[in-house]
């Protein structure tokens, strides 16, 4: 079996699978990093991804256009994030519970709307999914070429977003504002930065990314909608944010590791590896818990995370 693992086809296939499986997590992790850097923990992520998956699918089913589906998913993500902003930023409700409320609501809503639109046919409907696009020269590179450079467009977008978000956070004025709002909202307020608006914008942008990440699962990776299509990937992304120390590149790295493990267990399964399927499925979750333990020791958490910002609290 070892010989089979180290053969070219296996490695190529694995590389390709890694990027594919990591894509939705990269989107969601980047979206969550934006929100958390501004000081808001968005636990609505799992629900938003599901709504994104459902909305994208239904829209594509109806319109025939995949990209419109992705756009619809992004818009839905933004709307739900706006609701989160209303609850957690403007009303200052507990971020934990607001987020969970959004997830529960979105989950219910996704299933409700799907059932309404599609009913309960014996054979669930499918769409014609995205096709993978090969980058002309690069995909010819031996061994890694057809794995890395023959991917869905959305995957390339996700990868491009990593440096974009990094530059945004660390090299622009907006990024400095976001980081200050997340570390010390009082400091940001006193220099005239609109704390609530900044947080809302970050949430909404993050919501769009989360929605897109969800739609990837129903429009590219698979071509149908199932209730458990997200399967906890939203929570994995939350963990990846912590794993990556709130840094976009490191968070994406965590997502890639997850993708690698996910791809690996599928392939090893195919080779007749005799460990129960489910044990493998457990590994990403256990890995993230271990990562959480290691990472909790470092004080890189944005200091303003989880605290609603209100001015009139102090008196006299």
């Amino acid at each position: 079996m070892m010989r089979e693992i180290f053969n070219v086809a296996f490695i190529t296939g694995l590389l390709g699978a890694t990027l594919r499986m990591a894509t939705p997590i990269i989107f969601a992790t980047l979206g969550e990093i934006l929100a958390e850097r501004a000081g808001v923990l968005n636990l609505g992520i799992e629900g938003i991804m599901l709504m994104g998956a459902m909305t994208g699918f239904i829209y594509t089913l109806g319109s025939g256009s995949l990209w419109l589906g992705v756009l619809a998913a992004a818009l839905v993500g933004m709307l739900l994030a706006l609701l989160m902003a209303f609850l957690a930023v403007y009303l200052g409700l507990s971020q934990h519970v607001s987020g969970l409320g959004i997830t529960l609501f979105s989950t219910g809503l996704a299933m409700f709307v799907y059932r309404l639109k599609v009913g309960s046919p014996l054979v669930p409907p499918t769409v014609q999914p995205f096709r993978q696009v090969a980058i002309p020269l690069l995909s010819k590179i031996p061994i890694v070429g057809s794995g890395l450079f023959n991917q869905y467009l959305l995957t390339y977008v996700a990868l491009l977003l990593i440096p974009v978000i990094s530059i945004l956070l660390y090299k622009t004025h907006l990024g400095l504002k976001i980081r200050t709002v997340g570390e010390n909202p009082f400091a940001a307020d006193t220099v005239g930065v609109n704390v609530n608006l900044t947080r809302t914008l970050c949430l909404v942008a993050g919501g769009a990314l989360m929605g897109i990440g969800g739609s990837f699962l129903t429009l590219a990776h698979q071509n149908m909608f199932l209730i458990d299509v997200i399967g906890g990937r939203g929570w994995i992304s939350i963990a990846m944010v912590i794993f990556g120390n709130w840094n976009p590149a490191k968070g994406a790295l965590g997502a890639l590791i997850f993708g690698l493990l996910d791809g690996l267990q599928l392939r090893l399964q195919g080779l007749g590896f005799r460990v129960p399927f489910d044990i493998f499925l457990m590994i990403p979750y256990l890995m993230t818990i271990v990562a959480l333990i290691g990472v909790s020791r470092r004080a890189s958490v944005p200091a303003g995370l989880l605290k609603p910002y209100r001015r009139e609290e102090k008196g006299g």
């Binding site: 609850l87 409320g101 979750y285 818990i289």
Partner: protein, 353 residues
């Protein structure tokens, strides 16, 4: 441009503690009209079938009670944990742990005297749920790992443990589905009312409500758990061993969720399947919040949700509104309750610039 100003308000009188959840419930029901209308159904008919389906006949009423039993347990579990600020989002996994333990004993421990089997299962299921909650509690107190994320992730770990077992050693011989064999007769919860599924779990749940109320108000542990939740640092300053209290809280909380799992297995399913819980653990969060983290509040809140869940099935059959409306209502209720809770402490002033 409009600006929202959140201003502190003077404390509300005592009756507000009841009025607020009631107002939240009414508001939620009103908001649920929107999805019903979107589904193209007649509003009055839908509500009629909802309530009739849940409360209209003897059978329906008892079914609603049956549905309430696991919800009361998970609601109590989450409420007690949240009260101590142990953010137990893992009630779902703890429920599964309880069900798993009940399955194992209920199928294989044939050597136990019949009259002891059920009590043993109940105690073991409680401990299994408690143990599964102890893991994130330990991670939180010793290693400062965020409990929201860890309890959440462990739900999925437990789900996969179940999967591995149900496709493996626990799988019913001869079956290709992930399901276990049936548990022994002596392990099944007795039915308490004829022509219904009203089982032992319901009075057990009521007993649990009383026990939790007693713990909260009359015991040292209840006081300590509350103090730790109000201000961890000050509680520690005052000499309370916060780690021990947190661990005990987690054990009790997980144990209650485990009992929900035991009930589902031993009263309704009789065998372990992967979707033994349609999200009772998560519903517990909404129920706990709506109930103001108070045991009696949890009781009423659980009843409200079981009405919605049971009623939604009938409503779906009669008016075509997808039964998932129950989940939508659940999410709505949580958000509405949060807003109402805010309004108990603050007023919202809209200032126009």
């Amino acid at each position: 441009m409009m600006r929202l100003r959140i201003v502190k308000r003077p404390p509300l009188p005592g009756w507000a503690r009841i009025a607020i959840p009631v107002a939240a419930v009414v508001t939620t029901l009103l908001l649920s009209a929107i999805p019903i209308l979107v589904a193209g159904a007649n509003l009055w008919q839908s509500y009629y079938h909802l309530f009739r389906g849940a409360l209209g006949t003897r059978f329906n009423l008892l079914e609603t009670c049956v549905k309430a039993s696991p919800l009361i347990f998970t609601g109590l579990a989450v409420a007690f944990a949240f009260r101590a600020k142990f953010w137990n989002i893992g009630a779902e996994g703890q429920l599964l742990a309880g069900a798993l333990m009940a399955t194992w004993i209920g199928i294989y421990w044939t050597w136990v005297p019949k009259f002891l089997l059920l009590p043993l299962i109940i105690v073991a299921g409680f401990l299994a749920g408690g143990a599964w909650a102890a893991v994130p509690a330990l991670l939180k107190t010793r290693l400062r790992v965020d409990d929201v994320v860890s309890t959440l992730l462990l739900n999925y770990v437990m789900l996969h443990i179940l999967g591995a077992l149900l496709f493996g050693p626990l799988q019913q011989p001869g079956s290709s589905w992930p399901r276990s064999s049936e548990i022994m007769e002596a392990a099944k919860y007795p039915f308490l009312m004829i022509r219904s599924r009203f089982h032992l779990g319901i009075p057990l749940a009521l007993v649990a409500v009383f026990v939790l109320w007693f713990i909260n108000t009359k015991t040292v542990f209840g006081y300590q758990s509350k103090a730790v939740g109000v201000n961890l640092r000050a509680a520690g300053f005052g000499g309370i061993s916060t780690t021990a209290v947190m661990m005990k809280t987690a054990l009790l909380s997980g144990g209650l969720a485990g009992l929900a799992g035991v009930g589902e297995l031993c009263a309704l399913q009789y065998r372990l399947i992967l979707d033994i819980s349609p999200g009772y653990g998560y519903s517990g969060i909404v129920i706990a919040m709506l109930g103001g983290l108070h045991p009696v509040g949890v009781l009423f809140s659980a009843l409200f949700f079981s009405v919605i869940i049971v009623g939604a099935q009938t409503m779906s059959r009669m008016t075509g509104v997808p039964s998932y409306i129950a989940e939508v209502v659940q999410g709505l209720a949580l958000m509405v309750m949060l807003i109402f809770l805010l309004l108990t402490e603050y007023r919202i002033k809209v200032a126009r610039k």
